[in-house]
């Protein structure tokens, strides 16, 4: 199973790539005054706006988690140092991965009419990957 930072990095990279693709389509069409711009489509604009707001909120969330982590007083455990901030870190960024995945798959799901069975398999895989990666992060620190 992938490390937490690798999993998170992969999700963010794909989200950025998709955001770049959607922005490319919007910008090219608006600069060339397309006859039937795709930004008029409700599904497309909603997906684009949701992805944009998810990525924009990342900086604030990361800052909060960083402050929480650096402000914590480490406790000495049995042969280790205990930092509870990493649990909050894992939970928060695990939620961000799920949110990003939901936003990314929503557009293909609606447009292509993918069956809910396929989506539930993808979501299950994502949940298992997040839980195991988070557990590795808590246990080994990444």
């Amino acid at each position: 199973m992938a490390k937490f930072q690798d999993l998170f990095g992969n999700f963010l990279f794909v989200a950025l790539l998709i955001f770049a693709g959607l922005s490319f389509v919007i910008v090219v069409q608006s600069n060339n005054s397309a006859g039937d711009p795709i930004s008029n489509n409700d599904m497309f604009s909603e997906a684009s706006n949701n992805l944009s707001s998810t990525l924009e909120n990342l900086e604030g969330t990361s800052g909060i988690q960083y402050d929480q982590f650096t402000g914590e007083q480490p406790k000495t455990g049995f042969g280790s140092i205990v930092l509870f901030g990493i649990v909050s870190f894992g939970k928060t960024f695990g939620n961000i991965i799920m949110t990003t995945l939901t936003v990314m798959i929503k557009l293909p799901l609606l447009v292509l009419g993918i069956p809910t069975t396929v989506v539930s398999v993808i979501i299950t895989w994502a949940i298992i990957a997040i839980v195991i990666s988070s557990w590795l992060l808590y246990k080994l620190g990444g």
Binding site: V14, L17, I18, G21, Q29, N32, G35, D36, P108, V111
Partner: protein, 111 residues
């Protein structure tokens, strides 16, 4: 459905009018062309990769082909006739975007 004829495209026919003309007969004309191009491009890339590698990466090939098809679809959506009909309609471009998202996501998650 029979074609309505070139007369509906305006008196002075340009290259845009000729490109848009098949859409008036068959709505999915350019969509079929795009799917065909996608398949041909994937097939060519697959065969080229098979010469270099023992086991070609099919998902990356489909990702690259879908990106190329999306670019073509975006270019096609900019072309419109004098009567205002677009070569690649909004819903077909939306299909291209959705397929592109699926292939690119699988490609990068697989890495």
């Amino acid at each position: 459905m029979p074609c309505e004829g070139l007369s509906i495209m305006g008196s002075s026919l340009g290259i845009e009018d000729i490109l848009v003309f098949p859409v008036t007969c068959y709505y999915y004309f350019w969509a079929v062309i795009l799917v065909t191009l996608f398949i041909i491009l994937s097939y060519i890339l697959y065969n080229r990769e098979r010469e270099d590698q023992v086991k070609p990466d099919l998902i990356s090939i489909l990702g690259i082909s879908s990106t190329a098809t999306l670019f073509l679809a975006v270019i096609g959506s900019l072309i419109k006739s004098t009567s205002g009909i677009v070569m690649i309609q909004q819903d077909i471009l939306l299909y291209c975007v959705a397929v592109w998202i699926i292939f690119v996501s699988i490609w990068f998650f697989k890495k």
